[in-house]
């Protein structure tokens, strides 16, 4: 799942952001160098895009797992997810997990309906921006961004690498909840289709949140600001149909079209519609392009 996700992404914005800003034909990194022989024997041709992106992603993943951050976030995530699944009332008025006497993962995936909210989709609003907040803001604060952008990598590769690192981390968080799902499956007959749909939905949702979080991280050198603005944006796109739909009934369908929750619930029903995938895909693409533009904003101060 992660593979296909990222490869479609990688092929898209890798080219467009540079072209959009430079106002000249994007020089693909390989083309730029191909014209002449590499100068020094060890300094090989700059920019194999995939290799660069992967190296940058590995650095980000390494950071999470070399510091307490990963373990704290994952532990917190698991504790709250487990509590939502087993302890707290499952909304929809069914009562708590054991009272409902039905093997389901509704506690994880949250209730349905535009005005209801909860589950991991809501938890992600707070947790994913915490994962992404440092990605660019910290590089700006410590000045390492100056080295990063003077390495022979394009800004788009930097953004994709960091994004990939964050998305893989979100994927790992979700994988960590599998024991919960398996437990439920052991207690009763679990609808596997719905479970898979729910997980796919959560992954897409987390990936979209990560895009927003990365974007806000590029706007500031203060991680806290990046976190707050990121969480706010995530919350907005999560709730938008419930919030604005209340104010203006006629706009309900329109707002549902841009609501993470509405699209998540479509996928989580177990019906994977191309429209939902396209929604998340284009949302992420836009967030990454804006991030790339924000990185390039240093070039505009003329």
């Amino acid at each position: 799942m992660a593979e296909t996700m990222t490869s479609t992404l990688a092929s898209k914005p890798a080219v467009s952001p540079t072209a959009a800003v430079a106002g000249k034909p994007a020089v693909s990194p390989t083309a730029a160098v191909a014209g002449k022989p590499a100068v020094s024997p060890t300094a090989a041709v700059a920019g194999k895009p995939a290799r660069n992106v992967w190296a940058l992603a590995k650095r980000e993943l390494g950071f999470y797992f070399n510091s307490p951050i990963a373990y704290i976030v994952i532990t917190l995530f698991l504790v709250v997810s487990g509590a939502m699944l087993f302890v707290f009332q499952v909304p929809d008025g069914v009562g708590d997990f054991f009272a409902a006497n039905e093997a389901n993962l509704r506690g994880l995936f949250g209730p349905t309906g535009p005005e209801a909210f909860g589950g991991i989709p809501l938890l992600f609003v707070f947790l994913v921006p915490a994962v992404t907040m440092r990605l660019i803001a910290e590089e700006k604060r410590t000045g390492t961004i100056e080295l990063l952008v003077t390495w022979p990598v394009t800004d788009a590769q930097i953004v994709l690498g960091k994004y990939l690192g964050a998305v893989l981390f979100v994927g790992i968080m979700l994988l960590a909840t599998l024991p919960l799902a398996l437990t439920v499956g052991g207690l009763g007959k679990l609808d596997v289709g719905v479970a898979i749909g729910g997980y796919l939905g959560l992954f897409l949702l987390g990936a979209a949140y990560a895009g927003l979080g990365l974007m806000t991280s590029a706007w500031t050198k203060n991680q806290i600001v990046a976190y707050l603005v990121g969480a706010l944006l995530c919350a907005f796109f999560y709730f938008v149909d419930g919030m604005l739909g209340l104010l203006w009934d006629g706009g309900r369908d329109f707002f549902a079209g841009m609501s993470f929750k509405a699209h998540f619930q479509n996928v989580a029903r177990g019906v994977v519609d191309l429209r939902d995938i396209l929604f998340y895909g284009s949302f992420i693409a836009i967030a990454l392009v804006v991030t790339t533009l924000s990185l390039q904003a240093r070039n505009w101060k003329k």
């Binding site: 060890t42 300094a43 090989a44 650095r59 390494g62 390492t144 080295l147 003077t150």
Partner: protein, 312 residues
């Protein structure tokens, strides 16, 4: 090799560079001097393709830094001011990361890390977390990072700032060694460092190049004064200073701190061509003083620097 012409850079309403032009030939070690805010770092940031200039051009072997940024970056090593590093990583992991992103092929990475660490003297620290290293070691990791892909151009922004004298000498020797087959541009406030390491000196002030040449050339062009250092034994410092101060042409006579007891060190300054050495000798003989040393001081870089970078 590097050709900078008519470079300007404005930040909002502040003009940091006002038309900087210079050329750097292959194998030169250029010392980039200037007071704080003169435009050294700005120039370096443009050279390394970190940010674009407002106008003017920078060419590296005929390639424009804006057109061929990636190609140029891949043959440059850059150490920014204040050495920003990923402090959470181990030295080895960090260098491995940089080498990968720098495009060093997999089979050469270990070899390159070893070479860079050897050159910078951090071979025994590769397993340490960067954040726990001393300032001097961090600086060396920064240098190793800049060297990892064996670049032919090195741009070092204040590579010795904040180091102790031993470390400064080490880094200086390292730079000299690196300069044997590379082109290096380094900026510094440290004037003796420039004299010791650089083949050419560029002085920048208020966004303009105000001096460009070898130490000897600068002395020829710019230094209008000749300076002598006189070491005398067993004389009264003030008497000697007053006597020598009356020699024809002397503008300044100053008692300098002496490390030996009973020895007076006096520095004299007079316009070029005043035959100060011979006048001093005659005076010393006339007074019957014990002369230990009479030396003409080399380029007065500090004086030159002050003169050229006086606030206008």
């Amino acid at each position: 090799m590097i050709e900078v012409s008519g470079l300007t850079k404005s930040y909002d309403d502040f003009q940091a560079l006002k038309g900087v032009s210079f050329k750097v030939n292959r194998g030169e070690i250029i010392g980039f001097l200037g007071p704080n805010g003169a435009g050294k770092t700005t120039t370096m940031k443009i050279l390394t393709c970190y940010m674009p200039q407002t106008s003017g051009t920078v060419n590296v072997d005929g390639k424009d830094v804006n057109q061929d940024a990636l190609a140029i970056r891949s043959r440059m090593g850059y150490l920014p001011e204040s050495t920003p590093l990923y402090t959470d990583m181990l030295v080895y992991d960090y260098l491995h990361h940089v080498a990968t992103v720098r495009g060093v092929t997999k089979d050469k990475i270990r070899e390159r890390i070893k070479a860079a660490c050897e050159m910078c003297g951090i071979l025994d620290r590769v397993g340490q977390e960067i954040g726990t290293l001393s300032k001097g070691y961090k600086q060396r990791v920064g240098l190793a990072q800049a060297l990892i892909h064996d670049p032919d151009i090195l741009i070092l922004d204040e590579p010795t700032s904040g180091l102790d004298p031993n470390q400064i000498v080490e880094i200086r020797n390292l730079i000299k060694r690196l300069g044997e087959n590379r082109t290096i541009i380094l900026s510094t406030h440290n004037l003796p460092e420039v004299m010791a390491t650089c083949t050419r000196i560029l002085i920048i002030h208020q966004g303009r190049i105000v001096a460009d040449g070898t130490a000897a050339q600068l002395e020829e062009q710019e230094a209008e004064n000749e300076r002598l250092r006189v070491l005398l034994r067993g004389v009264d410092a003030d008497v000697a200073r007053l006597e020598l101060g009356t020699l024809p042409g002397v503008r300044r006579a100053e008692v300098m701190p002496s490390v030996e007891t009973g020895v007076t060190v006096i520095e004299l300054e007079a316009p070029r061509g005043a035959e100060l050495r011979s006048a001093t000798f005659k005076k010393v003989v006339e007074k019957g003083w014990e002369l230990l040393e009479l030396a003409r001081l080399q380029l007065d870089l500090e004086g030159l620097f002050r003169k050229l970078t006086r606030e206008v």
